[in-house]
């Protein structure tokens, strides 16, 4: 921005971002109205959950043999969504992709909220949800312990670890920003942010420590990005069910998770940058970069699909082959073909620059990818269970009103917490944006 001194510009950054933080009257109503609506949404779902606990899982569409359905799909889906946050923050940070800054905060917040959403489902789907704590190894006088060979236990650990690490990572990056808010506000807000800023004063020593801690955490979280979804994939791959029992599952799930996470970032950031007036900070260039990443991930997934098909067809046992054929042509064929269309074909349009730079197109594509990834998870779970080894007890699955509502409620839950968080923290990292600005001035 010519004609302006760097200091003024830096100051403007703070002003702009801080403005996302203070509401106009209309904005205030819109914001709290949305939060309330979402709260209402998940309360309904919560009531249904209570009913489900009372009457048992008969209220779902689950049956013999399809024992997992919408709930586990929702778990995998939300865990997948949770992946891009860390991917954007940590991996791109380590690769010094500077454009990531603008969306990092939105993505990280999304990660935390998505894990909070995902974590509900393994509990919610239990036959006896009130015994969920038996999944945690805690010393007890009955001498009972968890079974460490069960992928579900790995899951519990992986998700918990991921949540803790993500929260730390997110919080650490927020500390200097909290200090900015503290310095600029008064009254109760100041008191709160003084606590949150942990006494940050911006000394060179603090910055040095911050950098080091941030780097280490980024490295840890990067490892987690790969491990968590690998472990989630082992929920399936470690079983002997045809269509699940496959070595490709871990990388394939990780790629799928990142893809769905990136798509969710677009879904959230595109409207948010308008609502928060952050067009200058989250530029079309940044979003285009996300689009490019989406192409890469989509291609990886397409490759996985092809590999899976080849493995299935060339398997010397007939079960996997038959499951594959069932996916393609059986009762659930719309799921398979929707997946292919939304995950493999639609993102190809991003090869065109015009599409990549069209926010409408990006937004629509991101929604389609979300749909496709949902279908992919549902298809993977349900088709394998519906037609496995014993033809005599093959079955089918149709989600019930309860499952639709509770899964829909999870979206409300997700948005509820997302709105609450993003509305009360600097939505774009102030310190990091300034640093980028400085570097580009120098550069």
């Amino acid at each position: 921005m010519p004609g302006q001194s760097l200091t003024v510009e830096l100051h403007r950054v703070t002003d702009d971002i801080f403005r996302t933080f203070t509401w106009s009257r209309v904005g205030w109503f819109a914001y709290w109205g949305s939060v309330g609506l979402c709260g209402y949404g998940w309360s309904i779902a919560g009531l249904l959950w209570i009913q489900q606990i009372y009457s048992g899982l008969q209220v779902t569409g689950l049956n013999h043999p399809v024992m997992w359905g919408f709930y586990i799909t929702a778990f995998v889906f939300w865990i997948g969504v949770a992946h891009s946050g860390t991917f954007v923050s940590a991996i791109l940070y380590l690769f010094h992709a500077r454009w990531r800054t603008s969306i990092a905060r939105a993505a990280e917040t999304m990660t935390i909220v998505a894990v909070m959403t995902a974590a509900i489902f393994p509990v919610l789907h239990l036959g006896r949800a009130w015994r969920f704590y038996w999944l945690i190894p805690y010393p007890n006088e009955r001498g009972l312990w968890v079974n460490f060979s069960s992928p579900l236990i790995w899951d519990a650990f992986a998700v918990a670890t991921y949540f803790v690490a993500s929260v730390l990572f997110w919080y650490l990056s927020l500390v200097p920003d909290f200090a900015v808010v503290r310095d600029r506000s008064g009254g109760r807000q100041r008191a709160i942010f003084r606590r949150l800023a942990l006494g940050w004063s911006g000394t060179a020593g603090e910055w040095r420590g911050f950098r080091r801690a941030y780097g280490i955490l980024a490295a840890i979280v990067t490892a987690l990005v790969v491990s968590v979804h690998s472990i989630v994939s082992w929920d399936f791959a470690a079983a002997i069910v045809p269509g699940w029992h496959s070595t490709i599952f871990a990388p394939y799930f990780v790629a799928g998770a990142i893809l769905s996470g990136l798509a969710m970032v677009l879904t959230l950031v595109i409207p948010a940058r308008f609502l928060l007036g952050a067009q200058d900070y989250v530029t079309v260039d940044h979003l285009e970069n996300v689009g490019k990443l989406i192409i890469v991930m989509s291609l990886i997934l397409t490759y996985s699909y092809v590999m899976e098909a080849i493995f299935s067809v060339r398997d010397d046992r007939p079960f996997t082959r038959s499951t594959f054929l069932f996916r393609v042509t059986g009762d659930f064929w719309p799921l398979f073909w929707t997946t292919i269309a939304c995950v493999s074909l639609v993102p190809l349009s991003l090869f065109r620059r015009r599409v990549r730079r069209s926010l409408t197109a990006l937004f629509c594509i991101s929604l389609l990818i979300n749909v496709g990834m949902w279908c992919e998870r549902l298809m993977t779970i349900v088709t394998s269970l519906a037609h496995d080894f014993d033809p005599s007890v093959w079955g089918t699955y149709r989600p019930s009103v309860f499952e639709w509502t509770i899964v829909g409620g999870s979206i409300s839950w997700f948005l509820f917490w997302y709105l609450l968080l993003i509305g009360h923290i600097p939505a774009v990292p102030i310190a990091e944006t300034k640093q980028n600005l400085l570097e580009s001035h120098r550069g």
Binding site: S55, W134, L135, V146, L152, D388, F389, S392
Partner: protein, 963 residues
């Protein structure tokens, strides 16, 4: 002392003790003894020997009672009819004992049609008053129509009716085998049911006789047939051919199917006789008769009858050869073919076939004194019907018979309406009871004294296994009480005391401690073998109608046949929830009736599976649902009997359609020509384990072997494992299931429900795929052979239950160790630890785990039938077969108490215990001498889905199918 002996002693004493406790008022406390008798221990099972009265076969049962409640029935090992096993209906008799819809006391119909409950005193007084009036009006104005009774009850009813100046007494059964008796009278001069020995035969030819499910004595015949199959397993041509337009469960077990045109069974049988005689294959014993036989069957050359029977002459000749060269063979006729205008012709032809095959006196003998000989004939029933309609009867007593439902045409029902006073002695509401003026509910047979002799030499005892739970009264006592009210003096002839003492007097007991009497109580009856009498065929040319051939039918017309339901029988057990919930072995349908249509016919008529159709015949119309089935001829549609009950029965009312409504009103036939089907809509038929064809390319679940297969022991391909195998130091429980013996009768399924408190899921849950049965009978049919001649339908029944794998996929995936490998090789399931992740079920390749989607419930008083040794599971937990771990524990306890090592046979799970074919063998695989170990190493042995390396503890023995 063996365990069984021990239990028997307990049972005898226990039976007596329970009988002492009998009182009309139900006890309020679970353990009714303030000072317990020495031989009844709280929580310990006592076995009471009695007799099953669900059908006329009269199997002996041991009723297992715990804390004075019957919780299960098992076959009485000493009883010659069933030798310790029971069929699915027998197992379900506990359900009718605790039927929530049972009458709770006497009811009197008011003028407005509603019922008013009353005391037993008043009820008996009311009956006595009516009887007094009737007697005053003349003789023969009281009639009795009831279930088949023999022995003491037969005598009591006879003497009692004499007291009211009547001899109108009919014992009715829907499946009465009357044509057989009449044919025997014609051919042998003896109007009686022959005795059949399937085990003595080398080859069986059945003309629609469903002897493995409903025909006469299915448990006994299944045992005999299994023996035949085992013995003839290496016969390259098979040992059983079924000739019928429809393949029943029995037919699915056959090695060949002759899809004869409906109604042409007699013609086929006669053409077979013709072929045997013409081909010079007849047995030497029949030589003196050859001349007249030859002339008798002269019009029935197979070549001339092809158009009528739809069977090629070459097939008839081949069958004739097979039938005669096998040594003693056996031909039987039954089913729809014996309720047909040609029924007697068929039975005559079948007897003739047995004669020329040299089977008379070997596999078919006479003088057996079957109880079925005492059944009323159709003429007698029509006679009574006329008497009722003409108002000649003032009081009609109906005792466990349901003519208003069972008889076609509605004539009996309207005749019933003309009777001034109908008394029903039924336990549960039924269509006949709906027209009764007075309902005097009888005890259930498990609460009753009595006796039943299914045949000469087998006198079964009925003794109460528990005190009645409702305010019911034994019909015998009602009769005695009423007789005394009516005419105290003449009633003296009936003797003093209640019906129980009447029974003991009948059995010749001088005192309750009489040795012979207590012996009978202990053993469940008196058994001896009656020697067959010598019976010879005689020339009956004169009485045999000349050309008993079926009418020609226009092409494209449909014939409906009704067949006995393997589970509901004639409908009497339709309210037993287990029988509704266990899939019909042929149609796989639950909780509904259906009509079977060949897929080609359905296509021609524009019908599809699940279409609701209106079925119209000359006699009536019903609405039911289409079930496609390749086991019916394309010109035949078939409907089960026993559905479409109107009575207020929660599990039976308005389920399916009453096939009887379509049949000719004179009751002459279960076949009706010229039916039309009109599509009316769609309703999903709930079908479990529907898939009966193995998708191509998969290793078959149910495997077969040809007799010529080389006798090499199978190689076991066991890949290397990362972990060492489990050590089973003491026992490794295992099972062997012989698919060559299994007939798919599903008795094991009902036994499992009873033993393991398996909840009934109900219609809706079944539709949603949430049935809870721990064991299921899968059926796999071989791909079809083009239809002509003696077809192969190669069906194999595969009982599927938890395989108790050594490398169980369910175990490692459970996060909380709710399922784990126990030291004896069981995949134990700890219900209280289960949190319901359901991963175990997903990972189970056999899909035998069952999840409680809802809280199980037992409508009162069914909760009394729960086995206290087995936990009732709550909602949200997984359950599955445990190999009856409670029985294993009990068996080990007995061995430990007797300070001896565990022996093979000490433990028998419920499924193996009841299997009429004894196809299931259980034991310790660690014991090299045990039966199960030997069978597991048989050359026919294989594991289902062996290539998954789950190493199941259940070995299946391949079914032998002919070349």
């Amino acid at each position: 002392m063996k365990r069984r002996d021990f239990l028997k002693v307990i049972s005898a004493a226990g039976g007596a003790a329970v009988a002492q406790g009998c009182s009309p008022a139900p006890s309020e406390t679970l353990i009714p003894y303030l000072v317990a008798p020495d031989d009844i221990v709280a929580g310990e099972a006592a076995f009471v020997a009695t007799t099953c009265r669900e059908c006329p076969a009269g199997c002996g049962v041991l009723a297992k009672t715990v804390d004075a409640r019957v919780i299960k029935v098992e076959g009485n090992p000493e009883h010659p009819v069933n030798r310790g096993t029971l069929c699915v209906r027998g197992q379900a008799s506990v359900q009718s004992l605790y039927d929530p819809d049972r009458f709770r006391g006497p009811l009197l119909r008011r003028g407005d049609g509603s019922y008013q409950s009353m005391s037993w005193d008043d009820a008996e007084a009311a009956l006595a008053a009516k009887l007094r009036e009737a007697r005053a009006r003349g003789t023969g104005r009281v009639a009795w129509i009831g279930q088949l009774a023999t022995g003491s009850f037969e005598r009591l009813t006879r003497e009692w009716l004499a007291l009211v100046e009547s001899d109108r007494r009919l014992f009715c059964e829907t499946f009465d085998h009357e044509p057989l008796r009449r044919a025997a009278a014609m051919v042998m001069g003896r109007a009686e049911i022959p005795t059949y020995r399937f085990d003595e035969a080398n080859f069986v030819l059945s003309f629609g006789a469903d002897f493995l499910e409903t025909w006469m004595s299915n448990v006994e015949f299944t045992r005999q047939y299994a023996a035949l199959r085992r013995r003839r397993a290496t016969d390259p041509f098979g040992c059983f051919v079924f000739a019928s337009p429809r393949l029943s469960l029995t037919g699915l077990n056959a090695d060949g199917w002759v899809a004869v045109r409906a109604g042409a069974e007699a013609a086929l049988a006669l053409s077979l006789v013709h072929a045997i005689v013409a081909d010079g294959l007849s047995h030497e014993s029949v030589r003196p008769h050859l001349d007249w036989v030859r002339s008798l069957v002269a019009p029935y050359a197979p070549e001339a009858l092809t158009a009528i029977t739809d069977v090629q002459p070459a097939d008839v000749h081949a069958l004739a050869r097979q039938f005669t060269t096998a040594g003693p063979s056996l031909a039987v006729g039954g089913g729809a073919a014996t309720r047909d205008p040609h029924a007697i012709d068929l039975e005559v032809a079948v007897l003739l076939l047995n004669a020329v095959g040299g089977n008379l006196g070997r596999t078919v003998t006479f003088g057996g004194g079957s109880a079925l000989d005492g059944l009323a004939t159709r003429d007698e029933i029509l006679d009574l019907e006329r008497a009722l309609a003409h108002g000649n009867i003032d009081v009609l007593l109906v005792h466990h018979a349901n003519p208003a439902y069972a008889l076609p045409g509605g004539a009996f029902e309207s005749a019933l309406a003309r009777v001034p006073f109908v008394v029903s002695l039924a336990s549960t509401p039924d269509e006949t009871t709906a027209q009764a003026h007075l309902i005097l509910p009888d005890h259930h047979s498990l609460e009753s004294w009595g006796d039943y002799a299914p045949r000469a030499g087998v006198a079964g005892m009925l003794q109460p296994a528990m005190a009645p739970i409702l305010s019911t009264r034994a019909s015998g006592d009602v009769l005695l009480n009423v007789a005394r009210r009516l005419d105290a003096e003449r009633a003296m002839a009936l003797g003093p005391g209640d019906y129980a003492s009447y029974v003991s007097r009948f059995w010749g007991a001088l005192s309750p401690s009489d040795q012979a009497w207590t012996d009978a109580l202990k053993r469940g009856g008196r058994y001896s073998s009656a020697a067959p009498v010598a019976a010879a065929m005689r020339d009956f040319t004169g009485s045999f109608p000349a050309v008993p051939l079926p009418d020609s039918r226009p092409a494209g017309s449909l014939t409906l046949i009704a067949f006995p339901s393997p589970f509901l029988y004639d409908g009497r057990q339709a309210n037993d929830a287990w029988l509704q919930e266990i899939p019909d072995p042929v149609s796989r349908t639950v909780w509904n009736g259906w009509i079977e249509i060949h897929p080609d016919t359905a296509r021609r008529l524009g019908l599809a599976q699940d279409d609701v159709v209106g079925v119209q015949s000359a006699s009536g119309s019903v609405t039911t649902v289409v079930r496609l089935y390749e086991g019916v001829r394309p010109d035949v549609v078939a409907m089960p009997l026993g559905y479409g009950r109107r009575a207020a029965l929660r599990n039976a009312q308005a389920r399916g359609a009453r096939a009887v409504a379509l049949l000719p009103p004179d009751g002459s036939s279960w076949r009706v020509d010229g039916v039309s089907l009109v599509r009316q809509g769609r309703r999903r038929l709930i079908v479990l384990q529907a898939e009966t064809e193995m998708p191509p390319g998969r290793p078959p679940m149910a495997q077969v072997i040809r007799p010529s297969a080389s006798a090499v022991a199978r190689e076991r391909h066991l890949p290397a494992d990362l972990y060492p195998p489990h050590a089973h130091r003491e026992h490794r429980w295992g099972m062997a299931i012989d698919l060559n013996a299994c007939t798919g009768c599903s008795a094991c399924v009902a036994a499992c429900y009873a033993e393991n408190n398996v909840p009934v899921a109900g219609e809706r849950a079944c539709a949603e795929g949430r049935e809870m049965s721990w064991i299921r009978i899968e059926r796999y049919d071989a791909p079809r052979v083009p239809a002509s001649g003696v077809r192969r339908f190669e069906s194999v029944f595969l009982p599927m239950l938890c395989q108790q794998c050594d490398e169980a996929p369910c175990e490692p995936v459970c996060p909380v160790y709710a399922t784990y490998h126990n030291p004896e090789g069981l995949n134990a399931q700890v219900y209280v630890r289960c949190i319901g992740t359901r991963f175990c079920s997903n990972n189970c390749p056999y899909k035998v785990r069952r999840f409680n989607f809802s809280r199980p419930s037992w409508p009162s008083p069914l909760e009394l039938s729960l086995n206290p040794d087995v936990t009732v599971r709550s909602a949200g937990v997984m359950e599955k077969c445990t190999f009856c771990v409670q029985r294993i524990q009990a068996g080990k306890n007995v061995a430990a108490r007797e300070q001896r090592p565990f022996r093979d046979g000490d433990v028998t799970p419920a499924c193996a215990q009841t299997c009429p074919a004894q196809a299931i063998v259980f034991g310790d695989l660690n014991d090299p001498a045990s039966r199960v170990t030997r069978l597991s190493q048989d050359r026919r042995s294989y594991h289902v889905l062996e290539e998954l390396n789950t190493r199941p503890a259940i070995a299946y023995l391949k079914r032998v199918v002919p070349e």
